[in-house]
């Protein structure tokens, strides 16, 4: 009886042990080592030495690569926003209107995941080629100027990132939405919740304008026309599709899913460098590109390590703030 009890107390630790040990040895310890290496000084040829005086690596790196950091945040946020805009209606449809086809639809959302993301990005390169299947005919028809291009611009990079992480945004939102008891929505309707035209239009227009304007600034397009486009489409969507029951019931209840999805999208998006490498150019370099080149090409370990830690710290801070804002304290449960 005593032995049994003792075994019970021990069981969780026994279960945890192998996995946690693995993470400690191959995640925690290397991370600490990385941190130490950010205090190295010296070169490849003269050898490296550790010294606390080298804390200057951090501000130096931040100053030199500030633009890339900023860019990563902007692109990450833009990609996350786009993902959210695309994914939410999609998840909503699958959850509430999916019926028999829910699993099939979900599967089709995940299916692209089954192929190499490098190959998919390469496919985008083909599709978005200057004279490719998409733009070639448009240019021939005169709808686009001959100088128009999407590849090697910020648009291509953000579009690539958004595309890659779409399933990450869709699934958590879907999971949240699916858990909502539809009887709540019915009850709201019974209590005269109806279309939310004036408020919806206003809110929609505002949000649409802000989002479009923000994206335009991020991509360095003309802000005015895109912002107007945003306002108009926001207005239409707000007027036609937002209802009180949606705003007051469904949306708030789906927030945990939105939160999880945004995290799962924003975090990797900030550290991404593949899209910037394949679809961008020197003006779209993100912090991930810098870390990779500092590490692998310039062998500048201290700077690379410092940048990595600043990136991680930034992400954790952003996650904490976001958690507070949305009131979701449980970061770690799904």
């Amino acid at each position: 009886m005593g032995a049994r009890h003792w075994l019970n107390r021990l069981t969780p630790y026994l279960l945890l042990a192998p996995g946690i040990l693995w993470l400690l040895v191959f995640y925690a310890y290397p991370s600490i080592q990385m941190f130490i290496s950010s205090f190295w000084s010296g070169t490849l040829e003269t050898g490296f030495s550790v010294s606390l005086d080298n804390w200057t690596t951090y501000p130096d790196a931040l100053q030199r690569y500030g633009p890339q950091f900023g860019r990563s945040i902007v692109y990450g946020a833009a990609a996350t926003t786009i993902c959210f805009l695309i994914a939410y209606p999609l998840a909503y449809t699958i959850a509430f209107r999916g019926g028999r086809y829910k699993s099939l639809l979900l599967f089709m959302v995940i299916a692209p995941f089954f192929t190499s993301f490098l190959l998919r990005t390469q496919s985008w390169k083909i599709i978005l080629g200057d004279d490719g299947i998409l733009f070639g005919p448009l240019k021939d028809l005169g709808l686009l100027g001959p100088d128009f291009r999407v590849l090697a611009t910020p648009t291509a990079v953000v579009a690539g990132i958004a595309y890659n992480f779409l399933p990450f945004m869709t699934l958590p939102i879907y999971v949240s939405l699916e858990k909502i008891d539809t009887r709540l929505v019915e009850a709201a309707k019974d209590l005269y919740a109806g279309p939310w035209r004036p408020g919806g239009s206003l809110a929609g227009g505002l949000v649409g304008g802000l989002v479009a304007g923000g994206l335009a600034t991020a991509f360095q397009y003309e802000v005015a026309p895109l912002a107007i486009l945003g306002v108009v489409s926001g207005l239409l969507i707000g007027a036609l599709f937002l209802s009180e029951s949606f705003i007051r019931i469904v949306l708030p209840l789906s927030l945990p899913g939105v939160f999880a999805g945004s995290l799962l999208t924003f975090i990797p998006a900030m550290g991404d460098f593949v899209n910037a490498e394949l679809l961008g150019n020197t003006q779209t370099r993100m912090i991930g590109n810098v870390i990779q080149s500092r590490f692998l090409e310039n062998n500048d370990y201290p700077t690379a390590a410092a940048l990595s830690f600043m990136l991680m710290a930034g992400i954790l801070v952003a996650v904490a703030i976001y958690a507070r804002l949305l009131g979701t304290k449980e970061l770690t449960s799904s």
Binding site: E45, D130, R149, T282, R285, N299
Partner: protein, 409 residues
Amino acid sequence: MTEIETRLAAELTRRRFLQGSALTGFAAFVAACGTSGSGSAAPTEPAATAGASEGPTTSEPAPAQSPSTELNFANWPLYIDTDDDDPSKHKTLEDFTARYGTVVNYSEVINANDEFFGTIRPALEGDQDTGWDIVVLTDWMAARLIRLGWAETFDLANMPNKVTNMQDVYKGVDFDPTDDHHAPWQSGMTGLGYDREVTGDLTSLEAFWTADPRWSGKVTFLNEMRDCIGLTMIRSGKDPSLATVADLDEAIAACQKAVDDGIVRAFTGNEYAEDLVSGNVVLAMAWSGDVIAKQAEKESLVWQLPDEGGMLWTDNMLIPKGAAHKYTAELMIDFVYDPAIAAQIAAWVNYVTPVKGAKEILAETDPDLADSPLIFPPADVLAKVKIFKSLSEEEETEFNDKFSALLGD
């Protein structure tokens, strides 16, 4: 894929303007240009003079050692003769296997010097085997490897071919005065690569700084510092072999202007070749052999040495320290310095071969190839190409750092 072979041959036969001995012209020019500041001693090693004039001499392997069962050879893409139907077959390597019984694990994993160096550096730092027996690196990276003591010293007794047949111009370079740490693989030139159909015929570097609507926004510069800055300096009338920090700053400012003017689309490694074919890029700073190789896929592609001049560079074979099969690697290096083998490689690769006697052998089987100015550049071509200055460690760090900033890294 035999189409390519015939098209390649056809392309090359169209080039007919070799006069005089291109090889001596090469030697004279490069010696004058001065790869090495220091006066080199008598280039021939004692072992080489033993009974050899021209022509291949192959010696028996030293009795104490025998070739290993495998050899790990890392190289750049499209840099060795390849069977047109089966890209995994390379006649040169098969010949080597036939001779020595060694299986050659040939990997085209090198796409950029810095990148590849980054992959072998950890092992070398830790005194470990990198896993490669032969690596092929450009001059300045080879210099760095040797400087760090990470290149094995050749046992020249195992490489009589190399000692005898290596072009004199490569002998006694400043980063390897004793010629026993590196062996040139191929040399090449950097110039204009463009799509004639879109841009018309271009002959001047000025095209890179002209916002002509035909190519503005579809231009790529190279992300190899020496090629990019070198060409920029040539355009402004400076000599890259005497590059100073002031020259560097000026060149970087010029490149930045081209970027700001919207002319330059991106800084690339050899990806520009793919983009030239797909049409996303119509003008690029290009390496001679690359463009020629892609002509099979797009006939209108042209490689042109600019009027103002171009860059010349050399890729070299080195044996990384701690290599498992050093002896066999030496055999391989020696093997490719056999003029017959060198001719075989040169015919496919379209770059400048460092091996004496290859031209003569090629002239017997394919006189048009032997006349190709790309493989055997004539004196007037050679007179216009420059080699970038050999930089010290501090200079290299500074140059690289500033160039990285231009690249956004």
